[in-house]
């Protein structure tokens, strides 16, 4: 079963619906016991890094997520949930993340003209040399839906796809069984559903 970690941040309706649509059993989970029973986990999140990191910490789920990730359970962070996988977030101050992947979360570089912040809309995935396990069914150049003002600044070995937005932004990452997508697969139509399906087949 896929566990969608519910720590009070963001709207889980579409994630739950996506798995239901795919015929994959998924449930919202919010305590240690139910999280431990899942064979894979989704860490969602919207809003600001500090608030979400606090919510995760207050609920005590930060330690649980770290433990099951270190034990090898496949974990996919989505949007802010991906950002939380890193060591630090530099949004409204400096906040500690889960530290499951080395790197920091930094703001998108503004340009004089052209790239509005946040990036909102469909942009294409450009795969790196490390093709991620979530892309079994995804061709290079596939469009996915982004909503974000920050992105991960991390060693190239963890980046599985980038997207061009004035500069190259980190679109997805993987370090062993820990994965992250900056975009919203649950809002990226058929292409996004195939990414979730691929994650469930790891």
């Amino acid at each position: 079963m896929v566990g969608i970690i519910d720590y009070g941040v963001g709207n889980l309706f579409s994630l739950v619906s996506s798995f239901k649509y795919l015929g994959i059993s998924a449930e919202k989970v919010s305590d240690e016991k139910s999280i431990a029973k899942c064979d894979r986990l989704i860490l969602p999140g919207v809003g600001a890094f500090g608030d979400a990191a606090n919510a995760l910490k207050t609920s005590g789920l930060d330690m649980v997520v770290k433990r099951v990730a270190n034990e090898g359970t496949p974990l996919l962070g989505i949007c802010l949930g991906m950002q939380l996988l890193f060591e630090k977030g530099l949004e409204f101050g400096e906040h500690e993340g889960l530290g499951l992947i080395p790197g920091n979360v930094v703001s998108i570089k503004p340009l004089a003209k052209g790239n509005k912040i946040p990036q909102i809309g469909w942009n294409s995935l450009e795969f790196t040399a490390n093709k991620g396990d979530i892309y079994k069914y995804t061709p290079n150049g596939e469009f996915v839906y982004f909503v974000h003002s920050f992105h991960a600044d991390c060693p190239a070995e963890y980046i599985t796809a980038q997207t061009e937005y004035g500069s190259l932004l980190t679109a997805s990452v993987q370090r062993g069984n820990v994965m992250g997508a900056q975009y919203h697969p649950e809002k990226s139509g058929e292409s996004g559903l195939l990414i979730l399906k691929s994650f469930c087949e790891i």
Binding site: Y21, V46, A48, K116, I120, G121, W122, N123, P139, Y165
Partner: protein
């Protein structure tokens, strides 16, 4: 590179999609759930649902339609109509909306934008305004375009962004429903003063109108239309192909042909 978005807008009343001309004379079109799925399949980048119902009973029906749509269509869904409070925001987000569009509610209570941005994040707060030329000035109209508020439109939108709106829908009453093209003058003025995505609305009649929109105001992020899509005058898959042929970057996936 980020793509230009094409957004069909569905006005929903009593469980059906309706479309009028200049905000009058509503026609029944189709089931919103069915239309939404069709639009998504042929390449719509996003959907807007406007709840133009009044009664409590109809509002419950709208929520059911929204839930049903969001369970089967996996592209971003914006909901507007009757959004006056933070509770209204919560209500539609829980029914499956990704973004919420405020219009008259923000005119009655300008702090609504700030409060909702604080609670849910700017990314889900869309400020929509119906705008019309009056005495050489762009004015914001309320109540579905019937009432002149006297508010100057460009500064209204600019203030809305400063309060936390993450996106703007600029609907020109002068061009809405008459299918003579988007309001290029108004859109350029708005794009000159804001840094958030701008969605153009009102006036789409032909494919060429969309090409003109993105060529003449390259800062515009999306084009929104209703009747030309609902009545089949423009097929979204054809529109996107023609935009691409004209050098405009759009999302054309494997399933869109």
């Amino acid at each position: 590179m980020i793509t230009k978005r094409i957004i069909p807008c569905l006005d929903v009343r009593n469980g059906r999609v309706v479309k009028g001309k200049n905000f009058l004379g509503l026609n029944d079109v189709d089931s919103p759930i069915k239309l939404a799925a069709e639009y998504s399949a042929c390449g719509a980048d996003e959907l807007v649902f406007y709840d133009i119902t009044a009664s409590f009973e109809e509002r419950k029906l709208f929520a059911e339609i929204l839930r049903e749509t969001a369970s089967n269509v996996f592209i971003p869904l914006t909901v507007g109509g009757g959004i006056n409070t933070v509770e209204d925001f919560t209500r539609v987000l829980e029914s499956g909306a990704d973004k919420v569009s405020v219009n008259s509610g923000a005119i009655r209570n300008p702090s609504l934008i700030y409060e909702c941005a604080k609670n849910f994040g700017s990314q889900c707060v869309v400020l929509s305004a119906d705008i019309k030329r009056v005495d050489g000035q762009f004015r914001v109209f309320a109540k579905g375009g019937r009432e002149d508020t006297g508010i100057e439109a460009i500064s209204w939108l600019k203030n809305g962004v400063e309060s936390g709106a993450g996106e703007l829908v600029v609907n020109s009453i002068d061009t809405d429903g008459v299918r003579n093209g988007f309001d290029i003058e108004l859109l350029q003025l708005v794009c000159d003063v804001v840094k958030v995505p701008v969605i153009a609305s009102g006036g789409a009649g032909t494919v060429q109108h969309f090409i003109d929109l993105f060529k003449q105001v390259p800062e515009v992020d999306a084009g929104l239309a209703a009747s030309v899509f609902h009545f089949g005058d423009i097929k979204i898959s054809d529109l996107k192909r023609e935009l691409k042929e004209n050098g405009i970057n759009v999302r054309i996936g494997n399933k869109n042909d």
